[in-house]
Each structure stands twice: as structure tokens, then as C-alpha cells.
């Protein structure tokens, strides 16, 4: 029947908390902020994880990106600025020498304006070859990709992203229609499937892909180019070694010369991302601990005040038969109740915020972390409520009854 005492204590706690609403709220603020920060941090990381996974699969885990510069590098700009450009001819050279390369796509990229009838938009256009589709994770949603003969002959055909299709054609069938890219007519032959945003930053659905032949002829012979090489996923390391030596051979580098190109993989993103995650997690953890400590001290302080205020009540309760343990339980319960309510309030705000955050990038409030944060706030209640409750339990009943 200890249960009925528990219920009674909980009832006393609730009425005490709600009798002093302002005081309880101010006391609980530290815990509310603590729970809010730890759960929001979790939400943020879960969202980042999800969008990172998606983005990495878009980049392709089995794709080597050969380009002039490293994606993430601590080299000085002057060390790399004179590196020679990559050339379209490398595609054939790599194909001849490499065993692992399953598909090789040269990719050139620039901004351009797209127009259809009255509608116009600025977007990125890509010039590449027929193997491009094998180096990205997206499929053709409608129509087809261009062929190698269309590439070689410089046909003015294009495959557009889902975003462009929606903006220009809506429900209308875009296949066979002509759009203008920087005022030059291209025939739409395919549409990519919808993909979403890269790292939650920019949409990859607004793009147009052209055969490299037409791209070079019309837009630029010079400019940025990278090579995307698909290799067997289970032989990544061997493949990197092989492509590295093939590239060094193509570039005619001597053994003592440094690489004048970069082979990038999604792994580079991963280590950058993990650093970011640790930074966010660490900051969140720090804020959480700080606000919980401050909150815990606040709870302890207010519990001392409560015990003082209710000295007479403690005397009465002892006179009518409460043991020290029952008084201890009552005040401990009160501290835990404040913290529990604060935790739930914090969680409620975190939930509302997570819905809001979700509008900008997909994320969820992790359930495990939510439960953990509630347990954690109750632990704060127990730890900070113990000394005041112990003090209350040890009060002398006669002195307490006389206390005014």
C-alpha cells in the first residue's frame, strides 16, 4: 500500500507546483532549456544524417571524382592554382588503361538561362557523355538519355531535371518540345526522376544535361571539367590506386613529382561531416549540461525555500504520524515533479520546433533521446531535491509545530 502514499505525495507535489506557478516556471526554466537543447540537437543531427545519407548516395559511394582540386584540402591556394585542366581525351585514355573503371563520364558545368515559351529560369547546365547516367544514382523518369552518336554528332538534345519540367511544362508532356538554353534551341528527350536537395542546401532537380559535343561547341571549350569514374564498390581502394597511377601516367609525372590532380570520394564528405556532427553534438551537450546544472541549483534553492515555508506543515504531518522517510519522499517527489513537468514542457517545445524545422529540412525528434531527456530531468530532480528533502525529514516535530 505504499502506492497510496506515492499518489498522495504526487498530489501534494502537483498542488504545490501549481500553487506557485510563476515561481515554479522560473525554477523550471533551466531544465526546460536543458531538455530543449538536447532534443533539438538530436533532431538536428537526425535531420543532417538523413539528408547527408541521401546526398552521399546522389554523389555515389562507388564513384571517383577526378578534378583539379581536392574537395576538402589544407593545401595553400598557390600550391594548386597552376594545376593543368582535365581534358575530354582523358576519358578514352583511362578507358584503355584501367581495369576497374566501369563507366567514365566527363562533366562540364556552368550557369545558363533556360526558356520555354514565356517562361524563363536560370539554372545549371551539364555537358557530359552517354555514360553519365551510370555515375549518378538518379534514373530517367520519362523519355530517354542521349546516345554516344548524338554526343559525337553534336545533336542539340537535352535531358532536364524534374524541377525544370514542373516549371515549364506542368502536366504537359515535355518530350519532343524545344526549350532555349542561352537562346539556342534544344529538343527535350528525357526527364530525370525527382531527387530533392543536396545536403538540404540546393535542389538538384533544376538542371539540364546536354551531350558534351553540343555543350563544347556552343558554350565553351574551356572551363571546368571533372571526370566521374564508376568503379566496383568492393574494390574502392584498389581502384583509387589504379586510377591514380593511370592519371599520373597520362600527366607524365615523374615518381618524385606530386599529383597535379585530385581523386575525390564521398569519404571526404564523411570526415568533414563527422567533424561538423561532433561540433554540433558537443555544443548541444555543453549547453545542456550547463543549463541542467544551473537548473538543478535553482531547484535545490527553491526546495530549501519550500521546506522553510512549510516547516509548520512538516511538524503537523509528523505529529499525525508521518515518518522521516515519508517526509523525505514527499519533498523528493516535489522536486522530481517540478523537473518532470519542466522536462515535458521542454519536450513539447522541442516537438513544436521540430515540426517547424521539418519544413526546411526533413528531420524527426528522436524518441530514444526524448525518453532519455525526461529520465535525465528526473535524475536532476532527485539529485537536487535530495538535500532539502533530507533536511525536511530531519526537522524536529516540536520545533516545527512551534514555527510561525
Amino acid at each position: 500500500m505504499i502506492f497510496s502514499l506515492f499518489i498522495e505525495n504526487f498530489r501534494i507535489s502537483l498542488s504545490a507546483v501549481f500553487a506557485n506557478k510563476t515561481r515554479s516556471l522560473l525554477t523550471a526554466l533551466g531544465i526546460i532549456i536543458g531538455v530543449l537543447s538536447v532534443t533539438l540537437m538530436g533532431t538536428l543531427i537526425s535531420g543532417l544524417d538523413r539528408s547527408f545519407e541521401g546526398s552521399m548516395s546522389w554523389l555515389g559511394k562507388d564513384i571517383l571524382h577526378i578534378s583539379r582540386y581536392e574537395w576538402f584540402s589544407d593545401m595553400e591556394w598557390w600550391e594548386v592554382k597552376n594545376r593543368p585542366r582535365l581534358l575530354p581525351e582523358y576519358v578514352e585514355k583511362i578507358r584503355e588503361r584501367s581495369e576497374y573503371a566501369l563507366a567514365i563520364a566527363p562533366v562540364m558545368q556552368r550557369g545558363a538561362s533556360l526558356a520555354y515559351e514565356e517562361k524563363e529560369t536560370r539554372t545549371e547546365i551539364f555537358g557530359t557523355n552517354e555514360e553519365y547516367m551510370e555515375t549518378i544514382s538518379t534514373n530517367i523518369g520519362k523519355g530517354r538519355f542521349f546516345t554516344s552518336s548524338e554526343d559525337r554528332s553534336g545533336s542539340r538534345v537535352t535531358v532536364i531535371g524534374d524541377g525544370i519540367k514542373e516549371a515549364f511544362f506542368g502536366e504537359q508532356d515535355p518530350i519532343g518540345q524545344y526549350i532555349k538554353i542561352d537562346n539556342i534551341k534544344f529538343r527535350v528527350i528525357g526527364v530525370l526522376e525527382k531527387q530533392g536537395k543536396f545536403l538540404g542546401l540546393f535542389s538538384v532537380d533544376n538542371q539540364a544535361i546536354l551531350p558534351l559535343g553540343a555543350y563544347k561547341r556552343i558554350f565553351s571549350r574551356r572551363g571546368w571539367m571533372r571526370l566521374s569514374v564508376k568503379v566496383p564498390e568492393e574494390k574502392m581502394e584498389d581502384s583509387v590506386d589504379e586510377i591514380l597511377s593511370v592519371m599520373r601516367h597520362i600527366r607524365g609525372l615523374k615518381p618524385n613529382e606530386k599529383n597535379d590532380f585530385a581523386i575525390n570520394q564521398t569519404k571526404a564528405f564523411e570526415s568533414q561531416y563527422n567533424t561538423l556532427k561532433i561540433a554540433i553534438g558537443g555544443t548541444g551537450f555543453f549547453i545542456t549540461m550547463l543549463s541542467l546544472i544551473v537548473g538543478g541549483i535553482g531547484i535545490m534553492n527553491i526546495m530549501f525555500v519550500t521546506v522553510k515555508e512549510r516547516t509548520k506543515e512538516i511538524g503537523v504531518r509528523k505529529a499525525i504520524g508521518a515518518t522521516n522517510g515519508m517526509i523525505l519522499g514527499q519533498f523528493l517527489m516535489e522536486a522530481v515533479t517540478i523537473c518532470l513537468i519542466a522536462g515535458l514542457v521542454g519536450l513539447f517545445f522541442a516537438y513544436i520546433s521540430s515540426l517547424f524545422i521539418n519544413k526546411f529540412f526533413p528531420s524527426t525528434l528522436p524518441i530514444g533521446l526524448s525518453i532519455f531527456s525526461i529520465v535525465m530531468s528526473m535524475v536532476v530532480g532527485i539529485v537536487s531535491g535530495f538535500i532539502p528533502a533530507y533536511k525536511a525529514s530531519k526537522l524536529d516535530p516540536i520545533d516545527s509545530l512551534r514555527y510561525e
Partner: protein
Amino acid sequence: MTLISLKDIYKIYNVGGEEVRALDGIDLAIRENEYLAIMGPSGSGKSTLMNMIGCLDTPTSGIYEFEGEMVQVMDDAQLASIRNRKIGFVFQTFNLLPKATAHHNVEIPLVYANIRKEERLKMASDALESVGLADRMHHKPNELSGGQRQRVAIARALVNNPSILLADEPTGNLDSRSGYEIMEILDLLHKKGNTIILVTHEDDIAKHAHRIIRLFDGKITEDIEQSF
């Protein structure tokens, strides 16, 4: 049958290096269904004696037996249990919990006694009915008059069917009419077989009791049985 037996009880405080004998060799036996008044000027030790009898305090030396159990060797939990089951307190200032209803105030000792909820509710209602507050059960103390509050306190004291009722100046904060009503209730309880111990300095109140002991400087100076 002897309910309470105090033998050679001393309570000695050390105040500023000086020895104060609040109780200075008390011998007292209280039988079942006695109606006893403890009188004496302030500082005479009557409050200390009442706290001792009520098991709120333990003697410095001497033997205190409550229904044959040795009180002076009990720990805090055992004392709390005796107070809960065997003793009902009525205070001068009522000492009700202000945020709880009359009914809940009366219910609290039963919570500490681990009695089941349905039983608790019924016992509390019965106790309030017996003091004539059936229609005021769900009022809070600040919605009740002084006399009504004291009646709630008596109901709370009685709810566990204690062996003794300890009333410390029960009419001290009441007007004469309410005080009279409270004394009527105590008289009635005595007639029903309860043992009642009153602490008072008013002769009018002490007159209700059948036995009066007077204290002075921690010693019993007078112990008279009154006949009616």
C-alpha cells in the same frame, strides 16, 4: 487498565551552559477512559509533558510505557507509528493543512497508516459526521469558522481510533460559544469511552475534566480527582 505510565521522568535541556529541568522527576499513571487536565503557568513544563505523552519527545531519563510498550527506546519510525495509530492531537491553532479540504485533512493520517482508499474515504466521512460537519466536508480551512476548523482537527485526531486524545489549549483561539461547543464534543467523546488529556490554563475548561494535575517547575504539585 493503565494506558500510560511515566516513572521518574526527567527532561533536561542545556541552555547556554545552564541546566534547565523542564521535567523534574515526573511519576504519572493514566488509565483508560480518564478525562485529565494538565494545568500550570507558562514555563511549568506542561507543554513538555504533553509532547512527552504524545511521543513527540523522548525523556532524558526515566521510563515511559505506552500500553506496556517502552517508548523511550523507540526510534523515529516507531514513534511516528505510535503517534499515527495511538494518539490524536488537537492543537490550539488547529494546524490544518490550508490547501486541503476538510475531508482530505482528516484523510491524511489514514494515508500514513496505509489504509486502502475506499476505506479511507469512508472513515474520514464518518469522523467528520461525528463532529457535525457532514455538510462542510469539501470546504477548505479558510472557508470554515474557527469552531468548525477545530472540529475538523478533532475529526482528524479521532479518525484512526486512537487510544488517547491530546488537546493542547483546544479552545484557546476560539470565542466562548465555539469553545463551549468544542468542550461539549470532548465531553461526549469521553462518555463514549475515549481517553482525553487536556492541557489548559483556564479553570473553566479544566472543570470539564475528572482529574486535574498541576505542574510547577517541572514537578507535579497537585493531583486531584474531581467528583461530579
